[in-house]
């Protein structure tokens, strides 16, 4: 569990980021201290849906920069290995919002497979999902679901392999 310095590490207020405390808005670079629960996200979704079905750049801008966070339990028995990460990245690229994952005091770009692999998120752990942008509420709901899934939709060939 060494804290490794990466360029994606939050700008040092000197200390490690407190992701443990549920409401902490971690000192990230672009952080708007708006820790919203997932229920709030649903609220936002309702309000934003009409505005973004046609998604004009103008309205994106005016509604932009919502910052939502939620904690997600990792139910995948193998943790966030390459396949769930690919599923997450694939889902994340469908949104305009900026997407980050926090784990063990480190932050990863939700669109970067390599960045996410560096987190080495273990099974039975928790991550914090942070989404900033015009489609944040929609994104956070979908992405939290992807993260929490026991295994991506694909079949699981390894576990089917015969025990020799």
């Amino acid at each position: 569990m060494s804290s490794y310095r990466t360029e994606s590490r939050p700008p040092a207020e000197g200390e490690r980021v407190e992701v443990e405390s549920p409401n902490a808005s971690s000192p990230t670079m672009n952080d708007t201290p708006l820790p919203l629960a997932l229920s709030d996200a649903a609220d936002f979704a309702a309000r934003l849906n009409s505005a973004f079905s046609t998604s004009s750049t103008e309205s994106n801008r005016s509604m932009g920069e919502e910052s939502l966070r939620c904690r997600v339990a990792i139910n995948n028995p193998y943790g966030l290995h390459m396949r769930p990460i690919s599923a997450f990245v694939q889902a994340a690229t469908r949104f305009q919002s900026r997407i980050f994952l926090w784990y063990d005091g480190r932050k990863a770009d939700g669109r970067s497979q390599l960045d996410l692999m560096l987190l080495a998120v273990l099974p039975n752990s928790e991550v914090e999902l942070e989404v900033q942008g015009p489609d944040a509420s929609e994104a956070i709901q979908l992405l939290a679901g992807v993260l929490a899934a026991p295994e991506p939709d694909n079949p699981e060939p390894e576990s089917l392999s015969p025990t020799a």
Partner: protein, 157 residues
């Protein structure tokens, strides 16, 4: 965890013969076998398991690097090998480029943490372009091993 903790020194392949995805995987599995891993009758099954994983989505992570892997009951700890293809092999990597550096990982069924840390370790080590360049230029098993062995993360020094 360091790469030299799971890469089996005697199985390193400094110049792959294979020119296809399956050929590379087979050559690497065989090399681990020759270094003393897996029973004869497990080899085909392991190759097939790694290939099935590739069919779901390539483990070519870009920048000429791939990490083919599977879980298999034929190992009781995580083992891996490293191979270099001087010519490069089409691997359907996410960036569409050929792959030159391969790290094969075979994990036991019940050690997900080791697998995750190995992935992390490979990605972290390979972020260094100079390291990857040096790996591709290494012309012997010893030279390759020495590079891997010296790739020591700062916090372990």
């Amino acid at each position: 965890m360091r790469m030299s903790n799971f890469v089996v020194r005697e199985s390193i392949i400094p110049a792959l013969q294979a020119t296809t995805k399956e050929g590379v995987i087979r050559e690497m599995v065989l090399s681990l076998h020759q270094a003393g891993y897996f029973r004869d009758n497990e080899l085909e099954d392991i190759v097939r398991a790694v290939m099935r994983r590739e069919q779901i989505g390539s483990t070519g992570i870009g920048r000429g690097i791939a990490i083919p892997h599977t879980r298999h009951s034929g190992v009781d700890r995580l083992v891996g090998t490293l191979a270099i293809s001087p010519a490069g092999v089409p691997f359907e990597a996410i960036d569409g480029e050929n792959v030159y550096v391969f790290v094969l990982l075979i994990s036991p069924q019940d050690r997900p943490g080791d697998h995750l840390r190995a992935l992390e370790n490979v990605v972290r080590t390979m972020k260094d372009d100079n390291f990857v360049r040096a790996l591709r230029q290494a012309d012997s098993r010893e030279a390759t091993w020495n590079l891997i062995d010296s790739a020591q993360p700062p916090w372990e020094r």
